[in-house]
């Protein structure tokens, strides 16, 4: 494959083995959310919540790994989630799903960019705009213009930085402070963290697994990786990536305890970034900052790449067939537009963190069964199946004033599942009846 071929931009030149596959998935999934949501779960649901958060990621990736093999077997000629949707859905359903995917993509990149903005605001004295401009320019060159090959070239460095930070910094602190003072401090200031018999945390874990799996099953970047990892190694790669990923939020939760053990806090979302103020060693500060930026930039690059691929391959190329050169030109243009949009939004909005954990949770939960139906079903599916996700989401949101947040996510999940189930049964009955009819006449 030539380097200037657009296929090269989408999937690179090689099929990945387990090692590189894991690195690629880790660099996609260790994101700003991982850094920002770990404190939230720990503080809201205690130590059980911290473990639950790790479990969520691990299980989500492992479950998707099981599906990945099926996806690859059934849709071996495809390259993106959009290609598969096009094969399996009617035009109406396809365009609906693509619009939902676009909204999710833009929101997901925006959340990452906000994370980077908060970090810049906390660390550097100069205005967020200039720092963000450099940061997004970097993401543009890697994910937007560089393509899959460039993303993988940096994924190795990114994973080395992640592991260096999550191994060295906790060890350094716990050797310096000792576990006992941390325990005493937490007992004094945040005793709720130490309560493990927390039924709400169990409830949270199950809901988080649902959201996590929903997030992975519609993740454009993970789908692209399904098609570039060697087929026979897909399941193992996703399973190990899930297990290895789970170690990172665990290490981060141990870091959070270092930050909060002697004091209270203002905002739980930016807690981890306050670690910079706690670290005395310049080397460790640099390592921590590099860790944060590299995780966020790799996640943004992967998302940007997947989103632009979706726009060019699954939207523009269908509306108006593009030549190779045009595809490249539009890639640069759209990556640039997305980066510029992020730059403006992040610079305008105050650097206040968003409530991340359950935002979009309803959409992700209601996407699971329709996506499973799309992947595992046999016939072209009508628009009702993808629409089940929006009906489920709306149902969940409608229940928001009556029941609590976690339950609405389950409501969304059940509504969309019910619609799919009803359609499935209706389809079977219809087939049986038509078979009987054709036999009789």
């Amino acid at each position: 494959m030539k380097k200037n071929d657009f296929q090269f931009y989408i999937s690179g030149a090689f099929h990945l083995g387990i090692g590189f596959g894991i690195v690629s998935l880790l660099s996609r999934w260790v994101t700003g959310n991982t850094i920002l949501s770990s404190p939230e779960t720990l503080i809201k649901y205690g130590l059980t919540g911290g473990i639950g958060y790790s479990l969520m990621g691990a299980l989500a990736l492992i479950l998707f790994g099981i599906l990945a093999k099926k996806i690859r077997d059934r849709f071996h000629d495809q390259q993106t989630i959009g290609d598969v949707l096009r094969e399996r859905l009617t035009p109406g359903g396809y365009w609906y799903m693509i619009s939902i995917l676009l909204v999710i993509s833009i929101h997901s990149i925006f959340v990452q960019a906000m994370g980077a903005g908060i970090l810049l605001h906390m660390i550097f004295p100069w205005p967020v705009f200039s720092g963000m401009a450099i940061f997004l320019l970097f993401c543009f060159f890697i994910g937007g213009a560089g393509g899959m090959q460039r993303i993988h070239q940096l994924a190795g460095i990114n994973v080395v930085l992640i592991f260096s930070a999550v191994i060295i910094i906790p060890v350094y602190f716990y050797i310096q402070e000792g576990v006992y003072p941390v325990y005493e401090g937490i007992k004094l200031y945040h005793p709720y963290i130490l309560y493990v018999k927390n039924t709400e945390a169990i409830w949270f874990i199950f809901t988080a697994i649902l959201i996590g799996f929903g997030q992975v099953i519609v993740d454009r970047a993970s789908w692209q990786r399904v098609f570039i990892i060697q087929k026979e190694k897909l399941r193992m790669t996703f399973t190990l990536a899930g297990l290895i990923w789970a170690t990172i939020p665990l290490a981060l939760s141990s870091l959070i305890m270092i930050i909060i053990f002697g004091r209270s806090y203002d905002s739980i979302y930016s807690l981890l970034f306050e670690l910079v103020g706690k670290i005395n060693s310049t080397l460790l500060i640099v390592l921590f900052i590099l860790f944060c930026f590299s995780s966020i930039s790799s996640a943004i690059s992967a998302e940007l790449h997947a989103t632009v691929t979706l726009i060019i391959k699954n939207i523009f190329d269908l509306l108006h067939p593009l030549s190779n050169k045009e595809k490249w030109r539009y890639t640069y243009i759209f990556s640039g537009i997305i980066c510029l949009f992020l730059l403006i939004i992040v610079s305008i909005l105050p650097p206040n963190p968003l409530e991340l954990l359950f935002f979009f949770g309803n959409i992700y939960a209601s996407m699971i069964v329709p996506m499973l139906y799309i992947i595992l079903g046999n016939k072209t599916l009508p628009a009702l199946i993808p629409l089940a996700s929006i009906i489920g989401t709306a149902g969940g949101f409608a229940a928001l004033p009556i029941v609590e947040n976690l339950i609405t996510i389950w409501i969304s999940f059940f509504i969309s599942s019910l619609i799919c189930l009803v359609y499935f049964i209706y389809n079977i009955l219809k087939m049986k009846l038509s078979y009987k009819f054709s036999k009789r006449y």
């Binding site: 090689f14 099929h15 083995g17 387990i18 090692g19 894991i22 690195v23 130590l47 077997d73 071996h76 000629d77 994973v159 592991f163 999550v166 191994i167 906790p170 060890v171 716990y174 576990v179 006992y180 941390v182 325990y183 007992k187 005793p191 130490l194 309560y195 493990v196 060697q230 087929k231 026979e232 190990l240 297990l243 290895i244 789970a246 170690t247 990172i248 665990l250 290490a251 939760s253 141990s254 305890m257």
Partner: protein, 256 residues
Amino acid sequence: MLPIESFSIYIMFCVLVPLLGSFTLLFLFVFEKRIDLLERQKREIALERELQTALYNQLNQEIQPHFFFNTLNSILALARLDRKTELIRSIETLSKLLKFKYRTINNFIPIEDELTYVNYYLEIQKTRFRDRLHYEIQLDKHVNKAIIIPFLIQTLVENAFKHAFERHIGNAFLKINVLKIESSIHVSVWNNSFESTETSHSDGGLGLENIKKRLELLFPEDETSVQLRNEGGGTAVLAIFPFVIKSEKLEGEKVQ
């Protein structure tokens, strides 16, 4: 509330698991290629062994006096009748057939090569059976370059002659279909002799078993199957294996 001991264990766990994760990743980077290499070598050895068995079966089955003398007699008859062009063609085809048989050492070949070989064989059989033999080969246009294990179609065709046409009198119809259905290749060899599948199993079972084994070894991760069944008033053997282009297979092995 969590006591200090449990909290210490929790912290120890949190601090140590990333180490475990990084070691796993490091291990994979260092040893993945070696493990792949060992697995591939193991598979190749097994595949070569099966190929040897297939070759042995082929030579054993085909260069049997029956086939050989009949062919020689047919060629002799052509010489006596002074049908020079047909004579030359027959000797040439026989020579190509034997050459292919002795020279095949690869574990997989393109379908077009396999079919060329089958055609040589059928041409020779045509000189023996003359107007009794009718055969047709149907081939999807995309499958020419796809790979197949050597002697797959050949073994099935030979079985048809051995178990059907040479045993029964009357017209001998043979149909070879090579189709691409979704991501698989379906090779079916049908003959018009209706036999109970059990009898065929006991006779041609070894050849089919060898094909089954070799397909499993060549495509360890994909679904393959070989089925013998009675259909359309005759007997058919259907072999299903994944559609893979030769260059892709070689590239895949290089990457591993």
